[in-house]
């Protein structure tokens, strides 16, 4: 799995490539927690190259969403493929997250 961080004007984009499973999601968790140590910022998860997300990956997103809500910032998920989108649908994540 590859994680790329792009710092934009309004938001920080975290692009994830490959599979987000039990092993790799801890990397993303670290990346996200590093991000929250800095000032309040909007986050965009770019999942265009994400092949699969496991419950461990969902947990990281859920934690990020809670954090974003607490900071009154915004979080968006973009580019997710159908498999990943379906997982968001099934788990109800699409109800509480902004998934484009």
């Amino acid at each position: 799995m590859e994680i790329t961080r792009i710092i934009g004007e309004d938001a920080i984009t975290i692009a994830v490539e490959g599979r987000l499973d039990t092993v790799t999601s801890s990397q993303l968790e670290q990346e996200v927690s590093d991000l929250f140590e800095q000032e309040k910022s909007n986050i965009i998860f770019d999942f265009a190259s994400l092949e699969y997300i496991s419950s461990a990956g969902l947990r990281v997103l859920l934690a990020a969403q809670k954090q974003v809500n607490a900071l009154e910032a915004e979080m968006r998920i973009i580019g997710a493929n159908d498999v990943v989108k379906e997982i968001f649908e099934i788990t109800g994540f699409s109800d509480i997250m902004q998934i484009d």
Partner: protein, 622 residues
């Protein structure tokens, strides 16, 4: 490390090389100047010696010449005594002059007035009238008077001429002879400073020159500078200011030169040695040294690099290779570099450490295995095995099965009797794995069952369970859950899906299809989520198949998911009337054959509910 080492080695070598070069250059320069200076000093000494010899020679010749002249004038005095009249006979005097090899002869009277001699023009000349001739005046009164004068220029052509005189023996008077002191003139010529410097050289191209007290060059090889001042030759004002400076480098006459000078006998003897010549030796020595040093330093560098590579680097690489193997997980690898005592000790140290590590890992593994076993036992023990109906009719079959992965997972299924007509079924999957997931699963399971038994609606059960699970959920864990409660009398099935995989349903022996269910957020994900329930009617013979993503996300060796499609295909391929326990086993078998030996990554959990209708009423084995 090797590159860094070689880099530093090279830096030090280069510094060493240049330091050696600088020191050699300095020493050679000092040596060259010292040598040059000695050379000039030596020549100056030679000049001084030659000056001394010339002066001495001159004196010797003069003494001899003086004695000679004196003898001649005495002989003339004796002749005049014997025959005083000869002074009046010019022919006799001419003869005597030739005999005595003199050029002039003069005889005076008692008053010092010339009365005879070879030079008629001087007759009557008063000897007292000129200081040169007056020097002979004492002879008039002193019978023993003798005088040989210093040679001096005479007449218009300034020819060197010398006079000698004695007292007349028979009468008072002066007897005098004059002559050209040719030998003396010659020695004076030799003694003449003017020609001295031309005979000396300093080294090959260095020169000597002599200046008088006024700074005028009186002797130099190159005659164009004769009688010129030192400044005109090219010396700078101040070159001779410091008598202590024995040796100086200065640009003289457009050429950089080492020069030294010494003041001697009223002269300044100056020696010049061109810098080019002085440094000739140094430059060739430095060239040779540079080539030699370059070769030597290169050899040393290669030698050190080779030795370090052989004795240290190779050993480090070997140790590193072994460590790489160990890091990759092969704790049976041993390090065996025995090229020297240090590596031997390092190898032994690493081997001991790896052995200790192996022991510890084994210990911990045993402990963890035991703990996981207990955890698994608890997890499995929490699952219901059979359900006892309180009536006589056999209205349903329900059965669950769970195949755990090696690591403790967070799946569970549950079925429970709410009252004599209501049966609850649930399946859930906790995010993550291990003990935390197992504990969260226990909590979720008891909450769902607890609220489920309070006879509130399915949606309310999930809402309350969600609220409870959200409290203190610092690890951000969540659980996907499907809960349904069936009224066994009417067949009404109320369900709610909190983020779980949609179940499959088969109507009265027909093909399975997805039970359309609205997906709500997983439990524990976020507080204050509103869940709504959906109702469907079950007909006798309907089957509901619940499962967890351990099935659909099982992967083969190519990391491809088992997928919903394959599950649907498999389950539809199986006979509809298959006993529900066998049905689950058959699905598991298909998953296993798909995974083809790959280790099961997640728990595989299934639950099948078969509705038989409102009439039958019997105890059921699960």
């Amino acid at each position: 490390m090797r590159r860094t080492f070689l880099l530093w080695l090279m830096v030090f070598m280069i510094i060493g090389f240049f330091a050696t070069f600088a020191i050699s250059f300095y020493v050679q320069t000092v040596q060259a100047e010292e040598n040059g200076h000695s050379l000039i000093q030596l020549r100056i000494e030679d000049v001084k010696q030659q000056l001394d010899i010339n002066i001495q020679n001159l004196e010797d010749i003069r003494t001899e010449s003086d004695l000679n002249a004196l003898a001649k004038v005495r002989a003339l005095a004796k002749m005049v005594e014997l025959n005083p009249d000869i002074i009046f006979f010019d022919e006799i005097l001419e003869d005597i002059k030739v005999m005595l090899e003199v050029d002039e002869m003069h005889i005076s009277d008692a008053e010092g007035i010339l009365i005879g001699g070879t030079e008629a023009a001087f007759l009557g000349y008063d000897m007292a009238s000129d200081p040169q001739s007056a020097a002979f005046m004492p002879a008039l009164t002193d019978k023993d008077f003798e005088l040989v004068q210093d040679p001096m220029p005479k007449g218009i052509n300034k020819e060197i001429f010398q006079y000698a005189g004695v007292a007349r023996i028979d009468l008072p008077g002066i007897i005098q002879v004059g002559y050209r002191p040719e030998k003396l003139a010659l020695s004076m010529e030799v003694a003449d400073i003017k020609n001295l410097a031309a005979g000396f050289r300093v080294g090959k191209s260095g020169i000597l020159m002599i200046a008088d007290e006024d700074g005028t060059i009186v002797s130099i090889g190159d005659t164009q500078y004769l009688d010129k001042s030192l400044e005109e030759y090219g010396f700078a004002q101040g070159d001779f200011d410091d008598p202590e400076a024995r040796s100086l480098l200065a640009t003289v006459n457009g050429q950089k030169s080492l020069f030294a000078y010494e003041d001697y006998e009223g002269y300044r003897i100056i020696g010049l040695l061109p810098a080019d010549e002085m440094y000739l030796n140094r430059n060739s020595t430095i060239q040779l040294l540079t080539v030699f040093n370059l070769a030597m330093f290169t050899v040393i560098f290669i030698l050190i690099a080779f030795l370090v590579q052989k004795k240290v680097i190779n050993g480090i690489y070997q140790v590193n290779d072994s460590l790489q193997v160990i890091t990759e997980g092969n704790l049976d690898e041993s390090v065996d570099v025995r090229t020297n005592a240090e590596f031997e000790s390092l190898s032994d140290g690493i081997n001991t450490m790896v052995a200790a590590l192996k022991g510890t890992i084994k210990e911990v593994e045993t402990k963890i295995d035991a703990e996981l076993y207990y955890a698994k036992t608890i997890q499995l023990a929490a699952l219901p095995t059979r359900i006892l109906e309180t009536g006589e009719h056999h209205r349903f079959n329900v059965k669950g099965s769970m195949f755990t992965a090696k690591e403790v997972g967070g799946d569970f299924y549950d079925f429970f009797v709410v009252d004599k007509n209501l049966l609850g079924v649930a399946i859930a999957d906790v995010s993550g794995k291990g003990i935390p997931a197992a504990m969260f699963m226990m909590e979720a399971k008891s909450l769902i069952k607890h609220y489920g038994l309070t006879k509130i609606s399915v949606s309310e059960v999930l809402r309350k369970a969600n609220q409870s699970l959200c409290e203190n959920n610092r690890a951000n864990m969540f659980v996907t859950a499907f809960l349904g409660i069936i009224d066994l009398e009417t067949g009404v099935f109320s369900f709610c899906n909190a983020g779980h995989n949609p179940p499959l349903i088969s109507r009265q022996g027909g093909d399975y299809s997805w039970l359309k269910s609205k997906a709500y957020l997983v439990l524990g994900g976020m507080e204050d989520i509103a869940y709504c329930e959906q109702d469907i009617f079950f007909e006798p013979g309907d089957r509901l198949f619940l499962y967890t993503d351990g099935i659909t996300e099982a992967t083969n060796s190519a990391q491809e998911l088992y997928s919903e499609e394959r599950l649907l295909k498999t389950i539809n391929r199986l006979p509809r009337d298959m006993p529900i326990g066998d049905l689950m086993l058959a699905v598991k078998e298909d998953v296993d054959s798909y995974a083809a030996g790959a280790e099961q990554a997640d728990d595989i959990t299934m639950l099948v509910l078969e509705y038989l209708g409102g009439k039958t009423w019997k105890s059921q084995e699960s």
